[in-house]
Amino acid sequence: MNDVIDRLARLTPSPSTSATEDAAADLRRGHRALSRRRIKRAALGGAALTLAVGGAFSGIALTSGNDGAPTVQAADNVRLVDYDGTQMPGFTVAKVPEGFVLQGSDQYVLAVARPDDDTTVSDFRDKIVVTLETTASGTQDPANTTVGGQPATLVTTPDGATMLKYAYRDFTVVIQMWNTIHLTDEQLVEFAEGVEVTADAKPSVG
């Protein structure tokens, strides 16, 4: 059974490269990228400052009550809201956690994240992600809830993330919620019931 593992272990390639020349070239590319970034930041700096000052005044107006005390939303009190923004190829959603947006998608994954999250879609931390698996690779855990009347499995991973799996047409939908997002199990099921899989989506496991 370990034949494939042994063959993989022997794969370790060691391309012949000129380390010194490559390192110098990589450093030059780094310098150029740094210069480009500085130029871009300098150009955007004025506009950003203007927005920041404007935003600060707006923020004060929006978060101050009549008594002048700022209103702070409890981190644990996340609620689901209807999503009326642009949908992404692969998956559509009816609801998202308040303050979250569809960060992006491809044929394998849809990521729901906070608006200031600048990580790539394939980074699952601090997000809810929706993926597809082939039914053959489906869950071994027994169903303990339902999504749209169909049996579903809700488990907590060793990392504290919550994973919801349920059959959808010929596939298994897998929704993973990172442990920094505090939707209840019922809310996660409600989120799942608003997810539609389009023809663009492909299983990431199979």
Binding site: L8, A19, Y108, T120, S122
Partner: protein, 166 residues
Amino acid sequence: MRRSQDAEFEAFVRRHRAPLVGTARLLTAGDAHLAEDLVQSTLVKVYLAWGRASQHPAAYARRTLVNCLTDHRRRPFFRREQGAVTLPEAPVEDPAMVDPELVAALAELPPRQRAAVVLRHVHDLSVEEVADALSCSTGTVKSQTARGLDKLRALLTPTQLTGDSR
């Protein structure tokens, strides 16, 4: 300050570039040119983020490499030009690849599953290190790796001919 960072970065590149290219070649299923492009992009990003990357630069570079590959696959030109399902013959031409059949089988895995298998079993990273590189949970790494190995075994097992023994 910048000069000392440059020296640290250069030392890192001298030590880790070749393994990184090796990883990239496996992640791209033997496409040496794409692997080199991805490594160059990765190292630029590592350089730009050296302040926070320098704590664990190898792990940061691996994570960035996987992200660069994912980003590359999302680009419109990649989607337009990937109509064929046949594997380019690059693995056979690449002398660094000692097992072209296995590399071809790796190419059949979905990208993240392939990355999990390569990082776990070729580079012998721990489940936690692979989870960090792929930005997912350790449970996901275990399931992706197990399924990837199953699929590789299925692909590499010769088809048994069945029939009458007469």
